[in-house]
């Protein structure tokens, strides 16, 4: 039982980590990354290759650093362009990582992959109790990442990122270094994806290119849209429920005798696609909308808030697909009503 629970929790944790990373890049900073799986694969292979030489902890840190470094390079090449182009570049990157892993046999073992990846804390407990240790390790990693990202989102860095997401031109005019902020956001997301890859490698102890398919990317997008772009709490619930549901579909195979393995996989992915589309149309803000911040959230005792255009521009509005324009008027009317009360 503990073995199955451990499997479930680790798989969900990997999904949550990837989702948190994408949520930071796309939800908070507005940068679409269709190459999620490429960064996860980088992290996993970094752990697999470095683990035996430098130990699991250093290898995990290296995975995060390598993934972040590659994100930085990719972001630097393309992020100053319109969002559409970043999406295309990242999708290409994901494919190229796949080709590299498959063909550079001398490094990655080609299609055979790499086995015997060292696991964390393996010498401390007996093999029989190891499942529980891995479960705890996965949960700790998720908790640490969640807290770090939540602090980042609430920090001035996160606030500036949301301003850039809403309107890069306004943010730039207010003196925010748009390019540097975007590259930073992409790098942070990349680091977390590297960690997710490391956890993947620790869990399976054996990796090959076939484990890293675009399915990972699709799940991450579904999780972020379901949870609500920009909301880390929403993401925890979104990713958790999706991964659990998808795990549950394994039992569907026994229930539906007519469907074979390939069809079941197709059914799952097709449903993820339908889910993405339906959520975008019916509930674009997701389950948990990013909290709508107002001027008075930042300046509670400040009566001259109306004189602070910078504060008004930086207070992030919820990413509301239905009303692209009117929220500024809305904020003004609110401020003026406060003034009339005074």
């Amino acid at each position: 039982m503990i073995a199955y629970l451990s499997t479930l929790v680790v798989l969900v944790s990997i999904g949550v980590l990837v989702g948190l990373a994408l949520n930071f890049q796309w939800g908070v900073a507005g940068l679409v990354n269709f190459g999620v799986v490429g960064f996860v694969a980088l992290g996993a292979y970094a752990v697999a290759l470095l683990g035996p030489h430098v130990g699991w902890f250093a290898a995990m840190l290296c995975a995060a650093v390598i993934s972040a470094a590659v994100s930085t390079i990719l972001a630097f090449l393309s992020i100053r362009l319109a969002d559409d182009y970043l999406a295309i570049v990242t999708i290409g990157f994901g494919e190229v990582v796949g080709i590299l892993l498959l063909n550079e046999d001398w490094l990655t073992g080609g299609a055979l992959g790499i086995a015997n990846i060292p696991r964390p804390f393996v010498s401390l407990v007996s093999a029989a109790h190891y499942d529980a240790v891995l479960l705890g390790f996965a949960l700790a990693l998720v908790a640490l990442t969640f807290v770090t990202l939540e602090i980042l989102v609430r920090s001035p860095f996160g606030r500036a990122l949301r301003a850039v997401r809403e309107d890069p031109i306004v943010a730039g005019a207010l003196g925010k270094p748009v390019l540097r902020l975007r590259i930073g956001a992409f790098a942070v997301g990349g680091a977390v994806m590297g960690l997710a890859g490391a956890l993947h490698a620790f869990y399976l102890t054996y990796i090959d290119p076939g484990q890293f398919t675009s399915i990972t990317t699709a799940y991450a997008f579904m999780a972020v849209i379901l949870g609500g772009r920009g909301s880390n709490t929403g993401l925890l619930i979104g990713a958790g429920s999706i991964m659990t549901l998808l795990e549950a579909t394994r039992f569907l195979k026994d229930a539906l005798g007519v469907v074979d393995g390939a069809q079941l996989a197709a059914l799952r992915l097709g449903l993820v696609g339908i889910g993405i589309i339906l959520l975008l149309i019916l509930r674009p803000q997701g389950l948990f909308a990013e909290p709508r911040k107002r001027v008075r959230d930042f300046f509670p005792d400040d009566d001259v808030a109306a004189d602070r255009p910078a504060a008004a521009a930086l207070s992030a509005r919820a990413w509301d697909a239905d009303s692209p324009v009117p929220s500024f008027q809305h904020r003004e009317s609110e401020v003026s009503s406060r003034e009339s009360q005074v």
Binding site: S78, F221, A265, A266, G270, L280
Partner: protein
Amino acid sequence: MVGQLIVDGLATGLLLALPSLALTVVFGILKFPNFAIGATLTLGAYAAWVANTFLQLPLFAAGAVAALVVAAVCVLSDMLVFARLRDAGSIVLLVASMGLSLVLENICRFSFGNATRNFDVAIERPIRWHGLRISHEQLTSAVTVVVCVVLVQLVIYGSPLGRAMRATADNPTLAAVRGVERETIVRITWVLAGALLAIAGVLAGLDRAVDPLLGWSYQIPAFAAAILGGLGSPFGAVVGALVIGLAEELSVLVLPTNYRQAVSFAIILVLLLMRTQGLLGAKAVRR
């Protein structure tokens, strides 16, 4: 050797011309990159395969059936998905098109499985001409693509409909003031894109074999071609496709064949660094 590579490159490039044309016309009118082109192409290939195998239609007729079916699917997906997200911004639209791509691809996989299928056509010896080997499939697809491309260019640059399309692409509000209905133009654009993708699917299936990932392998090259030509420029897309096709085949001279697919990615990267508006595009995308 090089001569043969150039022939193969032109054939590959012509095959790419149709999907990149479809991508670029949709981008011109709706202003979002449609990530579902690969899956739509796959759907076209399967539609033609069904018509060819089960209805015993010759491939030409099967292609026409596929074009009709896929055009209908494109219009339907516009009505169900894209029309409802019209004002949501290009990021939401491109994520939605990715979702649509998952749905279409997995409908094919669910219905027909992962096995590769072949069209029911006679296998013939390749033509030899001055030491060059040209297969019948290459010849068929080259002729088909050239006819399609000429037709599309005539429609876009030489007909009242094309003028209306270009007006909508340029400035939808102004076009509406002059009596060009945007929604009608959008539907017609989807029909055009669907038909082009279906024909591309048939030709791609003829070139390789029909499987659920058929379209995916054309996705990045088609984007590279459309970007190279300047997104939104129909003539540029065709030129871009020829350049990408030649570059992919000629890369064999310096790179291992496995890395052919990485060539278009490299071209996209270099292009985005050097010349963001593409070869023929005029619009700057740099922020």
